[in-house]
Assembly symmetry: C2
């Protein structure tokens, strides 16, 4: 058995994304993702996936050269290789991107976001080589299915006229009735029983009304609202008070640990985050100050599946809950999320996933939500298979793009509809 | 490949231990250890080792029954099984043992101490089944050898006359000259280049003199002093001041997080611990208060090799160093320590090990220190092999014991020499 990495294939793709609204703008009609394949000397291929913006791709290329020759079991070595890859500082901050939705930007976090896809690909290859599912390489599943929440968005019926895009059948959701209708569709198709609304789009009163309508339509079900830090402390407290009886948690109501700590001190509604705690370095202040009660891990920027387990261990030690964040992603990452989530004992909140919004994938078979859950694959590796024709098709779209879509820019996408749009300063309300 | 556990063998043993002194008394001539073997349906045997006192054995027996049928890859499942095994509360606190040297006693910690041996045995079996060393199952080694420190003890030449024991050739060490001579022997035989003295035995001035003598004999080498919490805050600060120029760290000078925090706030000498932070639950207060700068993990009571990695991740997040504690142990645990230590990126202090003091082992070949380091085994599993004749011999000693030695009791051992001995109250100085 030769576990050495013989070559790495990097395939940037553009995948269709519906016009989902957030406080910074709207999803572009196509969003970049990067597919990483490692091929062992024995010809076994493992797959991983991460953010596909140019800065990630630029880092993935030298890393791909560097890891060649390593064994796919040498996961710690990947991180050492990544540490040695230079990051162009100008790429870390300042350029147009939605980094703001993913918290602080640092060279280290950028490296982790890239190496995570290599780690997942190596785990997939290792599992295939050994005949073990990825969860077994992570200590074994403690549950047979992982629960996800319905990820609700304010949404236009379609992208602006004249903008090339793929149609979707979800319709518009721009008011409480539209949000409830969307929730019913998502629950009907996938069986979700908890609901998260991406907020920060409309004035808080409208979003409170939407969550209230959801709570009425799905009585007793856990509700979440996530304005991506768009609110002031006082606004956050007002929303917490008005929705306290139906909220499982409030997610990133305001930006930064000091604001979150102040809100947490003044409300009994738990606060979740994927913005103020997004790196291990941000943990001490936030946990010491009690600023967050649930950390939403994104295995991409936390640095992979084992780091996600480490994060869960830190959270457990401090009595902080853990669940999972999601940006637009494909089935490879959903499988990775499902494997690692299956191994985390203290996962007491349904994970987020954009997957239902992605009509396109690079797999031969899509992962399936049943009763809001994804069954933990027991096949070797991640238990997914690349569809090379689909991969080539989505890569062709990336190749044909003139560069406008290769870096996700929700504000630019919004300007296609509203030329005067500028990213709102925060707190917006 | 059938990875299911078909049976578990538990073999308590008594192994020779020299008359090493500490603040609670002296090591008994024989100390109990428990050898855990898991045998898979394919006939592959994995080995683990932990504390062998009766209360550990009593917990291991029902756990052995419970884990039968689990796959050796299902490490998380072991912990769930352990959680379901009832712990006799009277066993947790109050009975004569040296728990005080291992920090707080709780049912959870007792469970972890036992399950850790099962985890190591499962990793050993899994590695053998897959053809991978244990470190590869833990993410891969980041170093080829693990550094250990010379673990110096005040020591009698032999156990008290009339007490059955095995002779040793280390001689007595009861003053600075004796300690230096012991250090020269340990360094000469094993190549150690850092030195830890177990203190709390003599008044601080004598121990200060011993460390000073060591520093003179080994100029520039890192020194450590560990009185197992025998000192007051003021005494600790005085020692720190007098030895600050030669100490790598001071280990558990005083008992409890508040005292450690006060010392840490008033000295620049780093504080290490295996007593005030011995469980994840103890981390928040200690880290928040800056009470410790280095946590010495004992994979037995932290709950195994993966928990040790989790601990290292918590420490890294909080800028706290990590290294390894040691109680009397055999080669199985030294191999386990070496595998996991090899995977921890931020291991910046040599680990402790009693192994040089153990003339007896249960392996066909002893592990070797060269230049103070143990080479990380690359053979499948832990890379060690049980010597069944030796195991049977040491088990026979346990069977033949009337119970007096089956529970480590350093105070009882001391009373063999000094019938008036009572465990000193702390702070002793």
């Amino acid at each position: 058995m030769n576990l050495a990495i013989e070559r790495v294939r990097l395939t940037p793709v553009l995948v269709a994304d519906p016009p989902l609204l957030n406080t910074q703008g709207v999803h572009q009609p196509y969003t970049p993702r990067l597919i990483v394949e490692v091929v062992t000397a024995d010809g076994i291929t493992g797959v991983g996936e991460t953010y596909g913006d140019t800065k990630y791709l630029e880092l993935a290329r030298p890393l791909a050269r560097k890891v060649t020759g390593r064994r796919v079991s040498d996961l710690n070595g990947l991180f050492r290789d990544a540490d040695e890859v230079a990051v162009d500082a100008s790429r870390v901050v300042g350029q147009a991107d939605v980094g703001g939705l993913r918290g602080v930007q640092t060279a280290g976090k950028l490296r982790l976001s890239v190496v995570s896809a290599f780690e997942v690909a190596c785990l997939d290859a290792l599992g295939k080589a050994l005949g073990l599912p990825v969860h077994a390489l992570l200590g074994g599943k403690v549950r047979d299915a992982v629960e996800y929440s319905a990820y609700l968005f304010y949404k236009w019926a379609g992208h602006p006229a004249g903008v090339p895009s793929e149609p979707d059948d979800w319709g518009a959701a721009l008011d409480p009735a539209g949000v409830v209708e969307q929730a019913r569709k998502l629950a009907g198709r996938y069986g979700f029983t908890s609901f998260k609304l991406k907020g920060g789009v409309f004035p808080p009163e409208e979003e409170i009304a939407a969550v209230r309508a959801l709570a009425g339509a799905f009585p007793g079900r856990p509700m979440r609202l996530d304005p991506n830090g768009a609110w002031s402390v006082e606004t956050s407290l007002r929303v917490a008070e008005e929705l306290g009886d139906v909220l499982e948690y409030l997610e990133d109501p305001a930006l930064g640990t000091p604001a979150m700590a102040e809100i947490a001190a003044r409300t009994g509604v738990p606060l979740a985050t994927n913005m103020c705690v997004t790196t291990f370095a941000e943990i001490p202040e936030a946990f010491t100050r009690g600023a967050v009660q649930v950390v939403l891990s994104d295995h991409h920027y936390w640095g992979g599946l084992r780091n996600t387990q480490h994060l869960a261990a830190v959270c457990r030690a401090f009595g902080v809950g853990v669940s999972m964040h999601s940006n637009t992603h494909l089935g490879i990452s959903l499988a990775a999320m499902t494997h690692v989530a299956a191994t985390v004992p203290d996962l007491h909140h349904a994970c987020d996933s954009h997957y239902p919004w992605q009509s396109e994938d690079v797999l031969t078979e899509r992962l399936v939500f049943e009763g809001g859950r994804v069954a933990v694959p027991d096949a070797p590796g991640l238990g997914v298979e690349l569809d090379r024709d689909r991969l080539a098709f989505l890569h062709r779209r990336w190749l044909d793009d003139d560069g406008a879509l290769r870096d996700r820019d929700d504000a630019a996408a919004m300007r296609a509809a509203d030329p005067a749009w500028v990213t709102p300063s925060v707190p917006r309300w």
